[in-house]
Amino acid sequence: MDLSVRIGSLTLKNPLVAASGCFGYGVEYAEVVDLSSLGGIAVKGLFLAEREGHPAPRIVETPAGMLNAIGLQGIGVHRFIDEKLPELRARKATVIVNICGTTLNEYVELARILSDAEGVDALELNISCPNIKEGGITFGCSLTGTFDVVSAVRKVTRLPVVPKLTPNVTDVASFARAAEEAGADAVALVNTFLAMVIDVETRRPKISNVVGGLSGPAIRPIAVRMVYECRQTVKIPIVGMGGIAEARDALEFIIAGASAVQVGTASFVDPFIWPKLLDGIRDYMRRHQIARIADLVGTIDARARDHEWTSS
């Protein structure tokens, strides 16, 4: 059974990737998860500098989902390279670094620095974080912004470049196309949906940043649709995510068109989820006699079951 997945020049040993911001820098989970057993680890979004992020409360639970506005607290790229990367390498993790900038030059600078670091396997461009004011999503909500940041990063690195798209747009597939045209090796989607919860007793938002990003099972059907739309539009691989909590959910994304998937929120609920997901996928492939997971990608049979009928 071949579970491997290609993203540009990189081969993931299986399609299961820990989603950025949901798995710390990976090392936090070393006791609980064999890091080398994952297809990859997208580490928490990094800026050039350290950041302390937003004050608590940073999350609130919602029906089958959660809102977060962490504000990209992080140790910055240099401390990451010095303090975390060596352990990740030692544990044979496949490391995807999620990078954020407030300007195009910051993305380029981050890409340069990380390209020189030993043990980075791919760059995920976070142009879709809804929780910071400057940069980030301003690129992700404009086609030219997306194109520009991807091509600028493309020029300075040989690492696979995977822009992460926001779902907060009318036509996500057009962003996937802009990314493809700019030389992206793959696109990742979805980041979180901009959302809000109000405490009616105090009439204050429940998280300190007023708005935050919705993740978890609640958003899965929208995310699957978006992956499907992108699959009809671009040729590069898609990394799909949004609410995956069971093997069946991961398979849904793969059948819709994702080559690999990421899991975020569900690994909060069950940190031991990874072998369960992998077993479930293996079991499915066995039952359906699928030798290579790559053969399942985008195999949805989406003939509408019927045309629309008008009364006779």
Binding site: K44, P57, V60, T265
Partner: protein
Amino acid sequence: MPIDAPAEVIANHALSTDYNVLALAAPAIAAAAAPGQFVMVKAAFGHDPLLRRPFSVFEVLRDDRGTPTGISLLNKRIGVSTDLLYAARPGQRVACLGPLGRSFTVVDPPTEGWMVAGGVGLAPFVALAEALGTRGVASTLFYGARRAEELFYLDVFRRLGVELVLTTEDGSLGERGRVVAPLERRLAARAADRPVMIYACGPEGMLAATATTAARFGRPCQVSVERIMACGLGGCYSCVVPMRHGHGGFHHVRSCIAGPVLPGDQILWE
């Protein structure tokens, strides 16, 4: 390494209309738990409620030979998951992940252990009182609640030889008012006395007051903070507490792995 147990509910004792003690079969967690550590509990199947919830290990349950068999939780109903835990029935299973986080540092004699609990903040102190007792540390529990009926487990503490200083907001048992008042008086009275370690758990305001008071009298203070937590393992950065550092600056530490027990004097209280 934390253990994820599909823990069976052994017993569920209602203490009041809001509070209950839920006994869970979880031998491995019980064997590993230190006072002040917590577990992450998922009270329902399905995705609503979605996330686990953090609970202090209240008691370590043991069989006749003293072997740990499970833990209990002191649960206070305040929302959806705590409602479900209040209504849980024996035989039912709840996913229980732990033990997690940094425990209290247990002192040795001649240092005394003074515990300060507000409401459900009592939760970590049965285990701590036992650990202090084992080491022969003289201990006191300053324990405040809204009213007499919400002061629980007093006999257990008495049996453990803990001195009790009680307060209620309505004056129905012990001193009327907040629990920090008698603590402060005692500190003032015994300023030159033996060394004391202060342990606190309860509402944020009480923690801040306790930490500030302790600092004022130059006493060390470990507080167990409460933050909304999604993962309990350092993965999500939801549970941060601002800690002072350097020259008036601060940084955000994750209370699930750097805490929940943190040095009171370093927290940047709001």
